[in-house]
Protein backbone atom coordinates (compact mmCIF):
# COMPACT_ATOMS: atom_id res chain seq x y z
CA UNK A 1 0.00 0.00 0.00
CA UNK A 2 1.38 3.39 -0.97
CA UNK A 3 1.02 6.22 1.46
CA UNK A 4 -0.62 9.29 -0.10
CA UNK A 5 1.43 12.46 0.17
CA UNK A 6 -1.06 14.20 2.41
CA UNK A 7 -0.77 11.45 4.96
CA UNK A 8 2.62 12.84 5.99
CA UNK A 9 1.57 15.29 8.72
CA UNK A 10 -0.99 12.94 10.15
CA UNK A 11 1.56 10.12 10.33
CA UNK A 12 4.17 12.29 11.96
CA UNK A 13 1.62 13.21 14.62
CA UNK A 14 1.15 9.49 15.19
CA UNK A 15 4.90 9.00 15.39
CA UNK A 16 5.24 11.77 17.94
CA UNK A 17 2.57 10.12 20.04
CA UNK A 18 4.39 6.82 19.77
CA UNK A 19 7.87 7.96 20.61
CA UNK A 20 6.67 9.62 23.79
CA UNK A 21 7.23 7.10 26.51
CA UNK A 22 8.23 4.41 24.02
CA UNK A 23 11.17 3.19 26.07
CA UNK A 24 9.34 3.08 29.39
CA UNK A 25 6.39 1.43 27.69
CA UNK A 26 8.64 -1.29 26.29
CA UNK A 27 10.23 -1.89 29.69
CA UNK A 28 6.81 -2.17 31.32
CA UNK A 29 5.61 -4.53 28.57
CA UNK A 30 8.58 -6.86 28.97
CA UNK A 31 8.23 -6.79 32.74
CA UNK A 32 4.54 -7.74 32.49
CA UNK A 33 5.04 -10.49 29.91
CA UNK A 34 8.11 -11.74 31.80
CA UNK A 35 6.04 -12.00 34.97
CA UNK A 36 3.41 -14.04 33.11
CA UNK A 37 6.04 -16.46 31.77
CA UNK A 38 7.88 -16.93 35.05
CA UNK A 39 4.81 -17.09 37.32
CA UNK A 40 4.49 -20.94 37.37
CA UNK A 41 7.92 -21.20 39.00
CA UNK A 42 7.31 -18.46 41.53
CA UNK A 43 3.66 -18.57 42.58
CA UNK A 44 2.05 -21.27 44.74
CA UNK A 45 -0.55 -23.52 43.10
CA UNK A 46 -3.59 -21.66 44.51
CA UNK A 47 -2.39 -18.31 43.24
CA UNK A 48 -1.65 -19.86 39.85
CA UNK A 49 -5.32 -20.72 39.49
CA UNK A 50 -6.21 -17.07 40.08
CA UNK A 51 -3.53 -15.98 37.66
CA UNK A 52 -4.86 -18.34 35.03
CA UNK A 53 -8.27 -16.62 35.29
CA UNK A 54 -6.56 -13.24 35.33
CA UNK A 55 -4.57 -13.68 32.12
CA UNK A 56 -7.53 -15.09 30.19
CA UNK A 57 -9.87 -12.32 31.31
CA UNK A 58 -6.95 -9.96 30.64
CA UNK A 59 -6.69 -11.22 27.07
CA UNK A 60 -10.44 -10.70 26.77
CA UNK A 61 -10.03 -7.17 28.17
CA UNK A 62 -7.29 -6.48 25.61
CA UNK A 63 -9.81 -7.56 22.96
CA UNK A 64 -12.34 -5.11 24.39
CA UNK A 65 -9.72 -2.38 24.42
CA UNK A 66 -8.72 -2.95 20.77
CA UNK A 67 -12.03 -1.44 19.69
CA UNK A 68 -12.03 1.17 22.48
CA UNK A 69 -8.44 2.44 22.35
CA UNK A 70 -7.95 2.24 18.61
CA UNK A 71 -11.44 3.08 17.34
CA UNK A 72 -12.88 5.04 20.26
CA UNK A 73 -15.89 2.72 20.51
CA UNK A 74 -16.96 1.44 23.93
CA UNK A 75 -18.44 -2.04 23.55
CA UNK A 76 -20.99 -2.83 26.23
CA UNK A 77 -21.57 -6.40 25.11
CA UNK A 78 -18.18 -7.87 24.39
CA UNK A 79 -18.89 -11.03 26.39
CA UNK A 80 -21.00 -12.06 23.36
CA UNK A 81 -17.77 -13.02 21.57
CA UNK A 82 -15.97 -14.44 24.60
CA UNK A 83 -18.95 -16.61 25.50
CA UNK A 84 -19.77 -17.76 21.99
CA UNK A 85 -16.18 -18.89 21.52
CA UNK A 86 -16.24 -20.67 24.88
CA UNK A 87 -19.37 -22.62 23.89
CA UNK A 88 -17.95 -23.32 20.43
CA UNK A 89 -14.68 -24.60 21.93
CA UNK A 90 -16.56 -26.86 24.34
CA UNK A 91 -18.59 -28.36 21.50
CA UNK A 92 -15.56 -28.71 19.22
CA UNK A 93 -13.56 -30.48 21.94
CA UNK A 94 -16.40 -32.90 22.47
CA UNK A 95 -16.89 -33.55 18.76
CA UNK A 96 -13.24 -33.74 17.68
CA UNK A 97 -11.10 -34.80 20.67
CA UNK A 98 -8.38 -36.09 18.32
CA UNK A 99 -7.85 -32.81 16.48
CA UNK A 100 -4.98 -30.72 17.90
CA UNK A 101 -6.25 -28.11 20.36
CA UNK A 102 -4.66 -25.08 18.65
CA UNK A 103 -6.65 -25.88 15.51
CA UNK A 104 -9.86 -26.00 17.52
CA UNK A 105 -9.03 -22.73 19.28
CA UNK A 106 -8.34 -21.01 15.98
CA UNK A 107 -11.55 -22.43 14.52
CA UNK A 108 -13.61 -21.11 17.40
CA UNK A 109 -11.88 -17.72 17.37
CA UNK A 110 -12.13 -17.31 13.59
CA UNK A 111 -15.82 -18.18 13.72
CA UNK A 112 -16.31 -15.54 16.40
CA UNK A 113 -14.26 -13.04 14.39
CA UNK A 114 -16.58 -13.64 11.43
CA UNK A 115 -19.55 -13.19 13.77
CA UNK A 116 -18.00 -9.87 14.82
CA UNK A 117 -17.75 -8.75 11.19
CA UNK A 118 -21.37 -9.70 10.65
CA UNK A 119 -22.74 -8.01 13.79
CA UNK A 120 -20.37 -5.08 13.31
CA UNK A 121 -22.34 -4.10 10.23
CA UNK A 122 -25.22 -3.19 12.53
CA UNK A 123 -23.36 -1.29 15.22
CA UNK A 124 -20.05 0.08 13.87
CA UNK A 125 -21.79 2.68 11.70
CA UNK A 126 -22.76 4.44 14.90
CA UNK A 127 -20.50 5.88 17.53
CA UNK A 128 -20.74 7.12 21.10
CA UNK A 129 -23.71 6.14 23.20
CA UNK A 130 -25.48 4.57 20.23
CA UNK A 131 -22.67 2.06 19.65
CA UNK A 132 -22.58 1.16 23.34
CA UNK A 133 -26.32 0.59 23.48
CA UNK A 134 -26.35 -1.45 20.27
CA UNK A 135 -23.55 -3.69 21.50
CA UNK A 136 -25.42 -4.17 24.78
CA UNK A 137 -28.48 -5.29 22.80
CA UNK A 138 -26.39 -7.67 20.69
CA UNK A 139 -24.76 -9.10 23.81
CA UNK A 140 -28.15 -9.56 25.45
CA UNK A 141 -29.45 -11.27 22.30
CA UNK A 142 -26.66 -13.84 22.27
CA UNK A 143 -27.06 -14.32 26.02
CA UNK A 144 -30.77 -15.01 25.50
CA UNK A 145 -29.93 -17.64 22.88
CA UNK A 146 -27.49 -19.32 25.27
CA UNK A 147 -30.05 -19.12 28.06
CA UNK A 148 -32.97 -20.51 26.06
CA UNK A 149 -31.30 -23.07 23.78
CA UNK A 150 -31.02 -25.64 26.52
CA UNK A 151 -30.46 -28.61 24.21
CA UNK A 152 -27.19 -27.15 22.91
CA UNK A 153 -25.84 -24.88 25.64
CA UNK A 154 -27.27 -26.52 28.74
CA UNK A 155 -28.94 -23.21 29.68
CA UNK A 156 -28.01 -21.99 33.15
CA UNK A 157 -26.69 -25.47 34.02
CA UNK A 158 -23.98 -24.99 31.43
CA UNK A 159 -21.77 -27.49 29.67
CA UNK A 160 -19.39 -29.69 31.63
CA UNK A 161 -17.41 -32.84 30.99
CA UNK A 162 -16.46 -31.89 27.46
CA UNK A 163 -12.74 -32.01 28.20
CA UNK A 164 -11.10 -35.13 26.75
CA UNK A 165 -8.83 -36.86 29.26
CA UNK A 166 -6.06 -36.62 26.68
CA UNK A 167 -5.50 -33.19 25.24
CA UNK A 168 -3.81 -33.33 21.81
CA UNK A 169 -1.55 -30.28 21.55
CA UNK A 170 0.20 -31.25 18.33
CA UNK A 171 0.21 -34.54 16.46
CA UNK A 172 2.32 -36.73 18.73
CA UNK A 173 2.32 -34.31 21.68
CA UNK A 174 -0.37 -35.08 24.23
CA UNK A 175 -1.25 -33.99 27.72
CA UNK A 176 -2.88 -36.55 30.03
CA UNK A 177 -5.31 -34.83 32.42
CA UNK A 178 -3.59 -31.45 32.19
CA UNK A 179 -2.75 -29.80 35.51
CA UNK A 180 -3.43 -26.17 36.34
CA UNK A 181 0.17 -25.29 35.57
CA UNK A 182 -0.06 -26.99 32.19
CA UNK A 183 -3.28 -25.26 31.09
CA UNK A 184 -1.78 -22.01 32.39
CA UNK A 185 1.23 -22.50 30.16
CA UNK A 186 -1.05 -23.36 27.25
CA UNK A 187 -2.92 -20.09 27.83
CA UNK A 188 0.28 -18.07 28.15
CA UNK A 189 1.74 -19.62 25.01
CA UNK A 190 -1.27 -18.30 23.11
CA UNK A 191 -1.55 -14.98 24.89
CA UNK A 192 1.99 -13.72 24.42
CA UNK A 193 2.47 -14.25 20.67
CA UNK A 194 -1.11 -13.22 19.94
CA UNK A 195 -0.99 -9.94 21.85
CA UNK A 196 2.44 -9.09 20.42
CA UNK A 197 1.15 -9.76 16.91
CA UNK A 198 -1.98 -7.67 17.46
CA UNK A 199 0.12 -4.88 18.94
CA UNK A 200 2.36 -4.95 15.87
CA UNK A 201 -0.64 -4.96 13.53
CA UNK A 202 -2.21 -1.95 15.23
CA UNK A 203 0.96 0.04 15.85
CA UNK A 204 3.27 -0.81 12.96
CA UNK A 205 1.28 -1.69 9.84
CA UNK A 206 -0.62 0.36 7.25
CA UNK A 207 -3.82 -1.20 8.58
CA UNK A 208 -2.99 0.01 12.09
CA UNK A 209 -2.22 3.48 10.76
CA UNK A 210 -5.57 3.54 9.00
CA UNK A 211 -7.39 2.48 12.17
CA UNK A 212 -5.69 5.18 14.24
CA UNK A 213 -6.24 7.87 11.61
CA UNK A 214 -9.93 7.05 11.45
CA UNK A 215 -10.17 7.45 15.22
CA UNK A 216 -8.25 10.72 15.28
CA UNK A 217 -10.08 12.38 12.42
CA UNK A 218 -12.67 10.35 10.59
CA UNK A 219 -13.46 13.08 8.07
CA UNK A 220 -9.83 13.52 7.11
CA UNK A 221 -9.37 9.77 6.71
CA UNK A 222 -12.46 9.64 4.50
CA UNK A 223 -11.11 12.45 2.33
CA UNK A 224 -7.80 10.61 2.03
CA UNK A 225 -9.71 7.77 0.44
CA UNK A 226 -10.15 5.35 3.32
CA UNK A 227 -13.43 3.50 3.63
CA UNK A 228 -13.76 4.44 7.30
CA UNK A 229 -16.66 2.07 7.93
CA UNK A 230 -14.67 -0.91 6.68
CA UNK A 231 -11.61 0.11 8.68
CA UNK A 232 -13.66 0.22 11.89
CA UNK A 233 -15.47 -2.97 10.95
CA UNK A 234 -12.18 -4.82 10.42
CA UNK A 235 -10.94 -3.60 13.78
CA UNK A 236 -14.18 -4.74 15.42
CA UNK A 237 -13.63 -8.16 13.84
CA UNK A 238 -10.11 -8.21 15.29
CA UNK A 239 -11.48 -7.27 18.73
CA UNK A 240 -13.99 -10.11 18.46
CA UNK A 241 -11.27 -12.56 17.36
CA UNK A 242 -9.05 -11.77 20.36
CA UNK A 243 -12.03 -12.09 22.72
CA UNK A 244 -12.74 -15.38 20.96
CA UNK A 245 -9.26 -16.80 21.63
CA UNK A 246 -9.68 -15.81 25.27
CA UNK A 247 -13.09 -17.48 25.43
CA UNK A 248 -11.87 -20.70 23.82
CA UNK A 249 -8.93 -20.90 26.26
CA UNK A 250 -11.34 -20.14 29.11
CA UNK A 251 -13.38 -23.23 28.21
CA UNK A 252 -10.21 -25.37 28.31
CA UNK A 253 -8.85 -23.85 31.52
CA UNK A 254 -12.15 -24.25 33.40
CA UNK A 255 -13.56 -27.39 31.79
CA UNK A 256 -16.96 -25.74 32.18
CA UNK A 257 -18.96 -23.15 30.26
CA UNK A 258 -22.23 -21.57 31.34
CA UNK A 259 -24.22 -18.41 30.74
CA UNK A 260 -21.82 -16.71 33.19
CA UNK A 261 -19.37 -16.59 30.27
CA UNK A 262 -21.72 -14.57 28.07
CA UNK A 263 -23.85 -12.43 30.38
CA UNK A 264 -24.08 -8.71 30.90
CA UNK A 265 -22.18 -8.96 34.18
CA UNK A 266 -19.11 -10.28 32.36
CA UNK A 267 -19.42 -7.54 29.73
CA UNK A 268 -19.34 -4.90 32.47
CA UNK A 269 -16.64 -6.67 34.47
CA UNK A 270 -14.33 -6.60 31.48
CA UNK A 271 -14.94 -2.86 31.06
CA UNK A 272 -14.08 -2.35 34.72
CA UNK A 273 -10.91 -4.44 34.36
CA UNK A 274 -9.77 -2.56 31.27
CA UNK A 275 -10.23 0.83 32.91
CA UNK A 276 -8.59 -0.20 36.20
CA UNK A 277 -5.45 -1.12 34.29
CA UNK A 278 -5.65 1.84 31.94
CA UNK A 279 -7.02 1.83 28.40
CA UNK A 280 -4.29 4.13 27.09
CA UNK A 281 -1.66 1.39 27.29
CA UNK A 282 -2.09 -1.68 25.08
CA UNK A 283 -1.32 -4.08 27.94
CA UNK A 284 -3.16 -2.00 30.57
CA UNK A 285 -6.28 -4.22 30.54
CA UNK A 286 -4.10 -7.27 31.32
CA UNK A 287 -2.69 -5.45 34.34
CA UNK A 288 -6.22 -4.37 35.30
CA UNK A 289 -7.59 -7.88 35.19
CA UNK A 290 -4.75 -9.13 37.41
CA UNK A 291 -5.47 -6.34 39.90
CA UNK A 292 -9.20 -7.09 39.73
CA UNK A 293 -8.84 -10.85 40.23
CA UNK A 294 -6.29 -10.68 43.03
CA UNK A 295 -8.02 -7.66 44.59
CA UNK A 296 -11.39 -9.41 44.65
CA UNK A 297 -9.69 -12.51 46.06
CA UNK A 298 -8.25 -10.52 48.98
CA UNK A 299 -11.47 -8.53 49.46
CA UNK A 300 -13.70 -11.59 49.39
CA UNK A 301 -11.63 -13.09 52.21
CA UNK A 302 -12.44 -9.99 54.28
CA UNK A 303 -16.07 -9.43 53.38
CA UNK A 304 -18.82 -11.29 51.61
CA UNK A 305 -19.86 -8.10 49.86
CA UNK A 306 -16.56 -7.35 48.19
CA UNK A 307 -18.31 -6.19 45.02
CA UNK A 308 -19.63 -3.19 46.93
CA UNK A 309 -16.09 -2.09 47.75
CA UNK A 310 -14.90 -2.96 44.26
CA UNK A 311 -17.66 -0.78 42.81
CA UNK A 312 -16.84 2.12 45.13
CA UNK A 313 -13.14 1.84 44.29
CA UNK A 314 -14.02 1.86 40.59
CA UNK A 315 -16.15 5.02 41.00
CA UNK A 316 -13.23 6.77 42.72
CA UNK A 317 -10.89 5.56 39.99
CA UNK A 318 -13.14 6.82 37.17
CA UNK A 319 -13.46 10.25 38.79
CA UNK A 320 -9.90 10.68 40.01
CA UNK A 321 -7.70 8.62 37.66
CA UNK A 322 -9.63 8.16 34.42
CA UNK A 323 -6.51 6.77 32.73
CA UNK A 324 -6.23 3.88 35.16
CA UNK A 325 -3.21 2.50 36.99
CA UNK A 326 -1.03 2.55 33.86
CA UNK A 327 -1.86 6.21 33.29
CA UNK A 328 -1.10 6.99 36.91
CA UNK A 329 2.27 5.23 36.77
CA UNK A 330 3.14 6.99 33.50
CA UNK A 331 2.23 10.34 35.06
CA UNK A 332 4.30 9.71 38.20
CA UNK A 333 7.31 8.47 36.24
CA UNK A 334 7.24 11.45 33.86
CA UNK A 335 7.13 13.76 36.91
CA UNK A 336 10.16 11.93 38.32
CA UNK A 337 12.02 12.28 35.03
CA UNK A 338 11.18 15.99 34.86
CA UNK A 339 12.42 16.54 38.39
CA UNK A 340 15.66 14.67 37.67
CA UNK A 341 16.21 16.53 34.40
CA UNK A 342 15.19 19.90 35.84
Amino acid sequence: MTIPGKLGPALSALDAERSRGRASGAVATFALLGAIVSAPWILPQAALNDLSQAILLGLFAIGFNIIFKYSGLLSFGHAAFFGTAAYAEAMLLQAFPAVPVPVLILLAACGVGALGLLLGHICVRRSGAYFSMMTLAIGAFLYTIAFKWHAVTGGTDGLGSFMPSTLVLLPGWRLENPSIAQTYELSASFLIPLTLAVWLILERTPFGNAVQLVRQNEERAAFLGYDTHRVKLANYGLAAFVAGVAGALWAIANGFVSTDSIDLTLSTTVIIMAFIGGTGWFWGPLLGSAIYIFGSDRLSALTQHWQLWMGLAFIVLVLAFPRGIAGLVALLSSRLVERRDG
Binding site: T144, F147, L264, L308, G311, F314, I315, L319
Partner: protein, 293 residues
Protein backbone atom coordinates in the same frame (compact mmCIF):
# COMPACT_ATOMS: atom_id res chain seq x y z
CA UNK B 1 -55.02 -21.16 24.26
CA UNK B 2 -58.53 -22.12 25.32
CA UNK B 3 -61.41 -19.99 24.20
CA UNK B 4 -62.29 -18.52 20.88
CA UNK B 5 -61.10 -15.61 18.85
CA UNK B 6 -62.81 -12.61 20.54
CA UNK B 7 -61.53 -13.59 23.95
CA UNK B 8 -58.04 -14.17 22.57
CA UNK B 9 -58.09 -10.73 20.98
CA UNK B 10 -59.28 -9.07 24.17
CA UNK B 11 -56.70 -10.86 26.28
CA UNK B 12 -53.96 -10.06 23.75
CA UNK B 13 -55.10 -6.47 23.58
CA UNK B 14 -54.96 -6.04 27.33
CA UNK B 15 -51.52 -7.68 27.46
CA UNK B 16 -50.41 -5.29 24.73
CA UNK B 17 -51.52 -2.28 26.75
CA UNK B 18 -49.95 -3.69 29.92
CA UNK B 19 -46.56 -4.36 28.32
CA UNK B 20 -46.75 -1.00 26.58
CA UNK B 21 -47.30 0.71 29.92
CA UNK B 22 -44.52 -1.17 31.69
CA UNK B 23 -41.97 -0.72 28.91
CA UNK B 24 -42.71 2.97 28.62
CA UNK B 25 -42.71 3.58 32.38
CA UNK B 26 -39.12 2.32 32.70
CA UNK B 27 -37.82 3.75 29.45
CA UNK B 28 -39.37 7.22 29.76
CA UNK B 29 -37.09 8.31 32.60
CA UNK B 30 -33.95 7.26 30.74
CA UNK B 31 -35.16 8.98 27.58
CA UNK B 32 -36.00 12.20 29.38
CA UNK B 33 -32.59 12.33 31.04
CA UNK B 34 -30.82 11.47 27.80
CA UNK B 35 -32.87 13.85 25.70
CA UNK B 36 -32.67 16.83 28.07
CA UNK B 37 -29.25 16.35 29.66
CA UNK B 38 -27.46 14.22 27.07
CA UNK B 39 -26.61 11.91 29.98
CA UNK B 40 -26.57 8.16 29.40
CA UNK B 41 -27.47 6.65 32.76
CA UNK B 42 -26.73 2.92 33.00
CA UNK B 43 -27.78 3.07 36.66
CA UNK B 44 -31.31 4.10 35.67
CA UNK B 45 -32.54 0.53 35.97
CA UNK B 46 -30.78 0.28 39.34
CA UNK B 47 -33.01 3.00 40.77
CA UNK B 48 -35.94 1.03 39.40
CA UNK B 49 -34.71 -2.05 41.27
CA UNK B 50 -33.99 -0.09 44.44
CA UNK B 51 -37.51 1.33 44.48
CA UNK B 52 -38.91 -2.17 43.99
CA UNK B 53 -37.03 -3.44 47.04
CA UNK B 54 -37.86 -0.40 49.16
CA UNK B 55 -41.52 -0.74 48.21
CA UNK B 56 -41.40 -4.43 49.13
CA UNK B 57 -40.07 -3.57 52.58
CA UNK B 58 -42.63 -0.83 53.14
CA UNK B 59 -45.47 -3.09 52.01
CA UNK B 60 -44.12 -5.86 54.24
CA UNK B 61 -43.84 -3.62 57.31
CA UNK B 62 -47.11 -1.75 56.96
CA UNK B 63 -49.15 -4.28 55.02
CA UNK B 64 -50.14 -1.55 52.60
CA UNK B 65 -49.17 -1.57 48.93
CA UNK B 66 -50.58 1.93 48.58
CA UNK B 67 -48.20 3.27 51.20
CA UNK B 68 -45.35 1.60 49.31
CA UNK B 69 -46.44 3.22 46.06
CA UNK B 70 -46.69 6.56 47.81
CA UNK B 71 -43.45 6.45 49.83
CA UNK B 72 -40.92 4.31 47.95
CA UNK B 73 -40.53 6.64 44.93
CA UNK B 74 -39.82 9.77 47.04
CA UNK B 75 -37.31 7.80 49.15
CA UNK B 76 -35.61 6.63 45.98
CA UNK B 77 -35.61 10.19 44.67
CA UNK B 78 -33.84 11.37 47.85
CA UNK B 79 -31.19 8.70 47.32
CA UNK B 80 -31.00 9.80 43.69
CA UNK B 81 -30.54 13.39 44.81
CA UNK B 82 -27.62 12.37 47.01
CA UNK B 83 -26.04 10.45 44.13
CA UNK B 84 -26.63 13.38 41.79
CA UNK B 85 -25.02 15.87 44.16
CA UNK B 86 -22.06 13.61 44.89
CA UNK B 87 -21.41 11.97 41.53
CA UNK B 88 -23.64 12.50 38.51
CA UNK B 89 -23.36 16.27 38.29
CA UNK B 90 -19.60 16.10 37.93
CA UNK B 91 -20.04 14.47 34.53
CA UNK B 92 -22.94 16.31 32.84
CA UNK B 93 -20.47 17.92 30.46
CA UNK B 94 -18.03 15.03 30.27
CA UNK B 95 -19.14 12.98 27.27
CA UNK B 96 -20.68 9.55 27.13
CA UNK B 97 -17.69 7.37 27.98
CA UNK B 98 -17.05 8.76 31.49
CA UNK B 99 -20.81 8.82 32.10
CA UNK B 100 -21.13 5.22 31.07
CA UNK B 101 -18.19 4.19 33.27
CA UNK B 102 -19.35 6.11 36.33
CA UNK B 103 -22.90 4.79 36.08
CA UNK B 104 -21.63 1.23 35.57
CA UNK B 105 -19.82 1.67 38.89
CA UNK B 106 -22.94 3.06 40.53
CA UNK B 107 -25.07 0.21 39.15
CA UNK B 108 -22.49 -2.25 40.54
CA UNK B 109 -22.67 -0.65 43.99
CA UNK B 110 -26.47 -0.48 44.07
CA UNK B 111 -26.76 -4.12 42.94
CA UNK B 112 -24.43 -5.28 45.71
CA UNK B 113 -26.01 -3.00 48.31
CA UNK B 114 -29.46 -4.47 47.62
CA UNK B 115 -28.00 -7.97 47.97
CA UNK B 116 -26.42 -6.92 51.25
CA UNK B 117 -29.70 -5.56 52.63
CA UNK B 118 -32.27 -7.94 51.16
CA UNK B 119 -30.22 -11.04 50.33
CA UNK B 120 -30.02 -13.11 47.15
CA UNK B 121 -33.60 -14.42 47.19
CA UNK B 122 -36.42 -13.48 44.88
CA UNK B 123 -39.61 -12.18 46.45
CA UNK B 124 -43.16 -12.12 45.23
CA UNK B 125 -45.51 -9.30 46.13
CA UNK B 126 -49.24 -9.76 46.02
CA UNK B 127 -51.35 -7.01 44.48
CA UNK B 128 -53.31 -4.83 46.95
CA UNK B 129 -56.75 -5.92 48.07
CA UNK B 130 -59.31 -5.08 45.46
CA UNK B 131 -56.86 -5.30 42.57
CA UNK B 132 -55.95 -8.96 43.02
CA UNK B 133 -58.96 -10.42 41.26
CA UNK B 134 -59.98 -11.06 37.71
CA UNK B 135 -62.80 -9.81 35.59
CA UNK B 136 -64.31 -11.69 32.68
CA UNK B 137 -65.14 -9.85 29.46
CA UNK B 138 -66.53 -11.86 26.52
CA UNK B 139 -64.99 -15.02 27.89
CA UNK B 140 -61.53 -13.49 28.43
CA UNK B 141 -60.22 -13.58 31.99
CA UNK B 142 -58.37 -10.36 32.72
CA UNK B 143 -56.34 -9.57 35.85
CA UNK B 144 -57.61 -6.35 37.41
CA UNK B 145 -54.06 -5.39 38.36
CA UNK B 146 -53.10 -5.06 34.69
CA UNK B 147 -55.83 -2.46 34.24
CA UNK B 148 -54.41 -0.60 37.22
CA UNK B 149 -50.89 -0.63 35.66
CA UNK B 150 -52.30 0.82 32.46
CA UNK B 151 -54.11 3.54 34.42
CA UNK B 152 -50.94 4.49 36.32
CA UNK B 153 -48.99 4.70 33.07
CA UNK B 154 -51.68 6.85 31.47
CA UNK B 155 -51.67 9.26 34.41
CA UNK B 156 -47.89 9.55 34.46
CA UNK B 157 -47.58 9.95 30.69
CA UNK B 158 -50.24 12.65 30.80
CA UNK B 159 -48.51 14.49 33.64
CA UNK B 160 -45.13 14.19 31.94
CA UNK B 161 -46.43 15.53 28.63
CA UNK B 162 -48.14 18.36 30.47
CA UNK B 163 -45.02 19.16 32.49
CA UNK B 164 -42.74 19.21 29.45
CA UNK B 165 -44.88 20.95 26.88
CA UNK B 166 -47.54 22.74 28.90
CA UNK B 167 -45.76 24.50 31.76
CA UNK B 168 -43.29 27.33 32.08
CA UNK B 169 -40.91 24.98 33.89
CA UNK B 170 -41.06 22.53 30.98
CA UNK B 171 -40.29 25.36 28.60
CA UNK B 172 -37.17 26.28 30.57
CA UNK B 173 -36.09 22.63 30.65
CA UNK B 174 -36.54 22.26 26.90
CA UNK B 175 -34.70 25.49 26.28
CA UNK B 176 -31.87 24.36 28.57
CA UNK B 177 -31.42 21.22 26.46
CA UNK B 178 -30.77 23.18 23.27
CA UNK B 179 -29.57 26.63 24.40
CA UNK B 180 -27.91 26.23 27.80
CA UNK B 181 -25.94 29.50 27.65
CA UNK B 182 -29.01 31.54 26.80
CA UNK B 183 -31.02 29.95 29.60
CA UNK B 184 -28.13 30.64 31.96
CA UNK B 185 -27.89 34.24 30.77
CA UNK B 186 -31.60 34.74 31.40
CA UNK B 187 -30.94 34.03 35.07
CA UNK B 188 -32.16 30.45 35.42
CA UNK B 189 -29.91 28.21 37.44
CA UNK B 190 -28.78 25.49 35.02
CA UNK B 191 -27.66 23.24 37.86
CA UNK B 192 -31.12 23.30 39.39
CA UNK B 193 -32.73 22.58 36.03
CA UNK B 194 -30.39 19.62 35.48
CA UNK B 195 -31.01 18.24 38.96
CA UNK B 196 -34.74 18.54 38.47
CA UNK B 197 -34.70 16.65 35.16
CA UNK B 198 -32.50 13.96 36.67
CA UNK B 199 -34.86 13.53 39.62
CA UNK B 200 -37.90 13.31 37.34
CA UNK B 201 -36.10 10.45 35.59
CA UNK B 202 -35.40 8.70 38.89
CA UNK B 203 -39.01 9.21 40.01
CA UNK B 204 -40.37 7.60 36.83
CA UNK B 205 -38.02 4.63 37.25
CA UNK B 206 -39.03 4.32 40.91
CA UNK B 207 -42.76 4.31 40.21
CA UNK B 208 -42.17 1.66 37.54
CA UNK B 209 -40.19 -0.37 40.07
CA UNK B 210 -42.99 -0.39 42.63
CA UNK B 211 -45.83 -0.90 40.15
CA UNK B 212 -43.97 -3.76 38.51
CA UNK B 213 -43.40 -5.85 41.64
CA UNK B 214 -46.80 -7.58 41.87
CA UNK B 215 -46.43 -8.66 38.24
CA UNK B 216 -42.80 -9.71 37.96
CA UNK B 217 -41.65 -9.99 41.57
CA UNK B 218 -38.29 -8.66 42.71
CA UNK B 219 -34.98 -10.44 42.29
CA UNK B 220 -31.29 -9.51 42.21
CA UNK B 221 -31.00 -9.55 38.40
CA UNK B 222 -34.02 -7.36 37.73
CA UNK B 223 -31.94 -4.26 37.04
CA UNK B 224 -30.00 -5.99 34.25
CA UNK B 225 -33.18 -7.31 32.65
CA UNK B 226 -34.82 -3.90 32.79
CA UNK B 227 -31.68 -2.20 31.47
CA UNK B 228 -31.65 -4.31 28.32
CA UNK B 229 -35.38 -3.69 27.71
CA UNK B 230 -34.94 0.01 28.33
CA UNK B 231 -31.95 0.37 26.03
CA UNK B 232 -33.82 -1.43 23.26
CA UNK B 233 -36.83 0.87 23.61
CA UNK B 234 -34.64 3.97 23.71
CA UNK B 235 -32.43 2.97 20.77
CA UNK B 236 -35.31 1.82 18.56
CA UNK B 237 -37.30 4.95 19.43
CA UNK B 238 -34.42 7.25 18.60
CA UNK B 239 -32.03 8.39 21.34
CA UNK B 240 -33.67 10.93 23.60
CA UNK B 241 -37.01 10.97 21.79
CA UNK B 242 -39.97 10.59 24.14
CA UNK B 243 -42.56 10.06 21.37
CA UNK B 244 -40.19 7.49 19.85
CA UNK B 245 -39.90 5.60 23.12
CA UNK B 246 -43.68 5.74 23.47
CA UNK B 247 -44.24 4.32 19.99
CA UNK B 248 -41.62 1.57 20.33
CA UNK B 249 -42.97 0.60 23.75
CA UNK B 250 -46.32 0.20 22.01
CA UNK B 251 -44.81 -1.95 19.29
CA UNK B 252 -43.08 -4.05 21.92
CA UNK B 253 -46.36 -4.37 23.79
CA UNK B 254 -48.10 -5.52 20.62
CA UNK B 255 -45.50 -8.18 19.88
CA UNK B 256 -45.38 -9.34 23.51
CA UNK B 257 -49.14 -9.20 23.95
CA UNK B 258 -50.12 -11.19 20.88
CA UNK B 259 -46.87 -13.06 20.28
CA UNK B 260 -46.93 -14.62 23.74
CA UNK B 261 -50.31 -16.17 22.98
CA UNK B 262 -48.92 -18.16 20.08
CA UNK B 263 -45.16 -18.33 20.52
CA UNK B 264 -44.63 -18.08 24.25
CA UNK B 265 -41.38 -20.08 24.00
CA UNK B 266 -39.80 -17.27 22.04
CA UNK B 267 -41.12 -14.37 24.11
CA UNK B 268 -37.63 -13.47 25.34
CA UNK B 269 -36.57 -12.77 21.76
CA UNK B 270 -39.40 -10.36 20.91
CA UNK B 271 -37.61 -7.18 22.02
CA UNK B 272 -34.66 -8.01 19.76
CA UNK B 273 -36.96 -8.70 16.82
CA UNK B 274 -38.64 -5.32 17.35
CA UNK B 275 -35.25 -3.61 17.56
CA UNK B 276 -33.92 -5.27 14.41
CA UNK B 277 -37.17 -4.61 12.56
CA UNK B 278 -37.21 -0.91 13.45
CA UNK B 279 -33.54 -0.35 12.67
CA UNK B 280 -33.89 -2.07 9.32
CA UNK B 281 -36.25 0.68 8.16
CA UNK B 282 -35.13 3.54 10.39
CA UNK B 283 -31.41 3.16 11.15
CA UNK B 284 -31.50 6.08 13.60
CA UNK B 285 -34.57 4.77 15.38
CA UNK B 286 -38.20 5.73 14.78
CA UNK B 287 -37.84 9.39 15.72
CA UNK B 288 -34.07 9.58 15.75
CA UNK B 289 -32.37 12.64 14.38
CA UNK B 290 -28.78 12.30 15.47
CA UNK B 291 -26.17 9.60 15.76
CA UNK B 292 -25.83 9.99 19.51
CA UNK B 293 -22.11 10.67 19.30
Amino acid sequence: MSGHLPSLIIAGGLDTLTYWSLAFLIASGLTVVFGMLGFLNVAHASFYMLAGYIGYSIAGQTGSFWLALLLAPPITVVLGLAAERLLFRRLYEAGHTPQLLLTIGIAYVIAEATKMIWGDDAFTVSPPAGLGGHIVILGATLPVYHLFVIAIALVLVGLLALLISGTRLGMVVRAAATHPQMVDALGFKLHTVHTLVFLVGVYLAAVAGVVMTPMLGIYPGMADDALVQTFIVVVAGGLGSLPGAFAVAGLLGLVQGFGSVFLSDYALFFPFIVLAGVLMFRPLGLFGTRSGA
